[in-house]
Subunit: 321 residues, 2 copies
DNA sequence: CGACAATGGTTAAACGTTTAACCCGTGACG
DNA sequence: CGTCACGGGTTAAACGTTTAACCATTGTCG
């Protein structure tokens, strides 16, 4: 690897000068500048982030801690984060903690070793990291009290669903609500209930997990207690429900309507195409990075929670053909 | 940030000793070991990767360069890579180059600055990086001559499809083949043709892109030239084709059967559930890391191409109900 | 003409580790 | 008893940068 001192030697100048031309830190005469630059180019010089980081105390790196990269929700936000981060001259180190809080703890240690300048964190549950990292942290999707965060307006999403259900003329509804440990699930549920008020009869309202299979009691409820419309905790739940119903001979959406939440990439390809609430994936990632960058530049200040608008996506599943 | 010398000071020993206990590099008496360890713990010491990297010349980091994180194909391999890499004590820095060879070039520079010990590379096209990085590179999915790589047995996959088509009793077939710039597309096509031999009549065989919309000529061919079965370049193409056909009033799979390739996460949820060839996503990632680790430990030797077996997934779309 | 600022450069220390080279007792062995 | 090996330490250099503190030369201005 060629170093700055190698360049200095060959160009007959000091390392300080080389550093100055390479970073534009101080004025350097055009001739030396030119000289140094060509020597650097010829030697194929690549600066060492380690050395720079060690000296400056800034690593020009941010860490991304996510619970599960295969969750269809995440790739788009990760992509947006990566892009924004890199545009700002930072590198991205990423760790997937497989929905395990222990691995998550290890993740914080790992990014600590890298002395990252900031951390984007999609928490597996909503408890603050221990010990608190020294770099600023901004959460995505799942707010943690005391930390900066960005999330979608799940409550408004819930209301949008209610509105659509009422608009479609449904009279009875079944709810598969997400785990109440999740902020998003609570908010969606709250918004839905608010919106439904007493205009539609809620025949049942049972808890499910966000992914995985439907629990047995939920399955039997779905199959045995007929309603006009079922609202799923998220798209995956809605899709599983649709499958279950189809398999049992029901015609969707005419016999029973379905609505999801998230607008995962394949919501439009399932049968029937899923009506759902779209989260602004990319914006989520972008805003998180913007907020993080602000905090890096200027730490302190009250934690801020950015709530991004969602969008009702009317496809076929929520109303009779 | 607490440093090794801080610990040394408080424990009344030299930094060398601290380093030795923390890394187990040299024998240290139980008492000093104990002492140093508790001091380190109390101070919440976290080693600095920059310093270590600078001194040792190894960064304990690998770079992952991918063309597009939102491609449904990738999250599973990225996840596998991340896990394996981290198990081996490395960190993972990741860059998404948005299918752009210029960004890809920049990506190599970025990981170069980090002095990564190895690179996992999913190339956007199949031309070698310029200049060649000094760290070992292993490609995933898309082999590059002269480089180590791991890929799926696309040819065998093509043959499996042929077999399934013959088994289903189809007499005519249409092929939507992928861009011939891609190794995978070429191999699939080759295997398919081999397998079909003269047992089934190929009515048409037109090129398409892997994602995006179907080109106009492909659309009209699909709609106008009836065949028993259409084989898509990959799942996304197959799914778009199914949509197109359904929209035009055809009943799938009875009027026309469809098969895909890849087994992306939602292949089973579309209508009709897609018969396809599954690539071993996780294994792809794992093998790539294993190979990379071998190369890091022991560079040199002939480039190796690992070809992983694929699996035919028979769902509903490839034969009459 | 003297003082001074500006310009373009250099020197050297420092960042937090690792590690080769050295040092000092102590017990074993011939 | 002299020598040697070994266990358990220390010292100090080095890794590749950045950057504060200097320094020399030149031109400007009162």
């Amino acid at each position: 690897m060629t170093t700055i001192s190698e360049i200095a030697r060959r160009a007959g100048v000091s390392t300080a000068t080389v550093s100055n031309v390479l970073n534009g830190t101080k004025a350097v005469s055009p001739e030396t500048r030119e000289l140094v630059e060509t020597v650097a180019r010829e030697l194929g010089y690549t600066p060492s982030r380690s050395a720079r980081s060690l000296k400056t105390g800034r690593s020009a790196t941010v860490g991304l801690i996510a619970p599960d990269l295969t969750n269809p929700f995440f790739p788009a936000v990760v992509q947006a984060v990566e892009r924004k981060v890199r545009e700002a001259g930072y590198g991205l180190i990423i760790v997937d903690c497989h929905n395990d809080t222990l691995e998550e703890k290890a993740a914080f240690e790992l990014v600590g070793e890298y002395r990252v300048d900031g951390i984007i964190w999609i928490p597996v549950d909503e408890t603050p990291p221990e010990p608190m990292p020294s770099a600023p942290v901004v959460t995505v999707d799942r707010p943690v009290t005391g930390l900066d965060g960005v999330t979608s307006d799940h409550r408004a999403g819930g209301r949008m669903i209610a509105e659509a259900i009422i608009g479609a003329g449904h009279e009875t509804v079944g709810i598969l609500r997400g785990p109440s440990a999740h902020h998003s699930a609570r908010e969606r549920h709250r918004g839905l209930l608010d919106g439904l008020a007493d205009k539609v009869r809620i025949v049942w309202d049972v808890p499910v997990f966000f992914s995985l299979e439907l629990p047995d009691d939920a399955r039997s409820t779905i199959l045995e207690q007929a309603v006009d419309c079922i609202v799923g905790a998220n798209d995956q739940v809605a899709i599983r429900t649709a499958q279950l119903l189809s398999a049992s001979g029901q015609k969707l959406p005419d016999d029973v309507a379905i609505v999801g939440f998230d607008d995962i990439p394949w919501a439009e390809f399932v049968h029937p195409p899923l009506s759902t609430v779209r989260q602004p994936y990319r914006r989520l990632g972008q805003s998180a990075v913007e907020l993080l960058l602000r905090r890096i530049a200027d730490p302190g200040g009250e934690p801020e929670l950015i709530v991004l608008p969602v969008e009702w996506i009317a496809r076929a599943s929520h109303r009779r053909g």
